[in-house]
């Protein structure tokens, strides 16, 4: 298997982020605190507990160049933490939200961060040098429901958002004084803050987990109906593909190369999707398993009990098979995987290592070094 390390930190983990040198991890153990652990000689020791929020911390991001942690919470607040003299010092960011904040991400240049919220708005926060504080600008239009995930395009200006209204939108977040207008860049629309560039109506149900490919050419996001959507050539004439897959829905995705995506979700096992040479995306395999999976043993013992009742037949033999194979297929995570975070140098086109965290309280680190052949040439 590709798993390098698994550790159960808490009952349940909401979100996590890694320090710039990947030696420390910050996560929220499903309460209002952020715990920072350092790994030393195969042991994890707790270094800091950041306690400032009143409610569950729903998003954490750790910038790799400026070494700042941004946290957002259901208490509608956000704090930017800086390491000063060995202690983490918080700075309140006034987001002007009247509902919970759900997700956060630093922009590639780390001069801005985006917050998605249940108030159907996205806050773009930037640092104002004169007043020495973080200012938030809101994108109020367009979203019809909670914004579940945000993702920055490598150009530091475009932002993709997914929402529980099923749509994925791309906005421009150009801020005068913070962003520099690229003379070769596209349309004038791109330089107006909050201007919607694109709206994708591919999903009928909630959308989650949006990410850009390393070059920014392709967008991937998932729908709650066990579908994953890929959009190539994002722009005036995008090429969208909907891929339906067998099992339970995904919650988050990660591009590990230009043509390969890993999806994680309710099946507790990462899935690999790849685009072939003609550009058609499809499901390849689960990370931990061989390609062919027999249909009978695909379900855990819980499911087969339910199915037994449903079909009203005795399925004693199938039940035994299923419970055995659920141990072997049980794999790393026991419960839904909520987020997947890359562990490579920012800006590198391939992601060799990534980590996943989930409702079972475990963080697992995966290394794809030995799987290059198995994954094929798209990786």
């Amino acid at each position: 298997m590709a798993v390098v390390d698994v550790h159960r930190f808490a009952e349940s983990i909401t979100c996590h982020a890694w320090s710039p040198d990947h030696s420390m991890v910050a996560f929220c153990p499903n309460n209002n605190e952020v715990h920072i652990y350092k790994s030393s000689q195969d042991q994890w020791e707790r270094l800091h507990v950041l306690e400032k929020h009143d409610q569950i911390v729903s998003g954490i991001d750790w910038s790799s160049k400026s070494n700042k942690i941004v946290t957002v919470s259901h208490d509608r607040n956000s704090y930017v933490w800086s390491l000063e003299g060995g202690e983490w010092v918080p700075t309140l960011v006034i987001l002007r939200l009247n509902r919970a904040a759900l997700c956060v991400q630093w922009s590639p240049k780390e001069n801005k961060f985006a917050v998605g919220s249940g108030a159907k708005t996205v806050c773009i926060c930037y640092y104002e040098q004169e007043n020495n504080w973080w200012v938030s600008k809101l994108i109020r239009k367009r979203h019809e429901s909670s914004v579940t995930n945000v993702a920055w395009h490598p150009n530091n200006i475009l932002l993709a958002t997914t929402s529980t209204d099923g749509k994925c939108r791309v906005f421009s977040t150009f801020i005068k004084g913070v962003d520099v207008k690229d003379p070769k860049a596209g349309s004038p629309a791109e330089s107006k803050f909050g201007e919607q560039i694109l709206q994708l109506d591919l999903s009928y149900s909630w959308a989650f987990g949006v990410k850009w490919s390393p070059s920014g050419n392709t967008l991937a996001y998932v729908g709650h109906s066990s579908m994953i959507y890929f959009v190539d050539d994002v722009g005036p004439s995008p090429l969208a593909q909907s891929v339906a897959f067998r099992d339970l829905p995904l919650r988050d995705v990660l591009f590990i190369s230009e043509k390969m995506v890993i999806g994680v979700g309710y099946d507790s096992n990462p899935m690999v999707f790849a685009a072939d040479d003609t550009g058609i995306w499809s499901f390849i395999r689960y990370i931990g398993e061989k390609k062919a999976v027999s249909s009978g043993s695909s379900y855990s013992s819980q499911f087969s009990e339910a199915f037994t009742k449903f079909y009203g037949q005795s399925k004693a033999t199938t039940a035994n098979e299923a419970s055995e194979s659920s141990k072997s297929r049980g794999g790393v995570h026991d419960n839904c995987i909520n987020s997947i975070v890359p562990l490579s140098k920012a800006g590198s086109p391939k992601v060799m290592r990534f980590s996943t965290s989930g409702l079972d309280g475990k963080i697992a680190i995966w290394d794809l070094e030995n799987m290059q052949e198995e994954l094929g040439h798209q990786f």
Partner: protein, 135 residues
Amino acid sequence: MAGAGGFVEADNAEAIIARIETKSSKIESLLKQYKPVEALKTALEGSPPKTLDERCKSANWIVVHRALMAIKDIEGMLNALDVEYYDILMKYLYRGLSTGDRPTCDQCLKIHEKLTDRAGLGCILRCLTDTINTV
């Protein structure tokens, strides 16, 4: 309610019902020739998912129901059916299960078991979450 992008207005519903009736006679003849799999394929093809009109949906359901009840060899039928029809078939199975009629439910349950084995839980998910294209 005025149709929004892709939805069929009430006056077009008549055209759809007429099409369903021709489909129905075709299916009857296929069933007489002991080709229940072909019949089901014809019934599922051209299902009008984007209609808001209940009459169209009910008319199509009657036709699909007729073909479904005639199926004896479920494995064979699923072998012959294209993957793209799995989601639509699943929706009709749930419609069948909601009727509460004993023979219909029995048949739908049998097909449901085999279809879930093939198509996986994702198929059921897509059926449950899709509130726009209902059958």
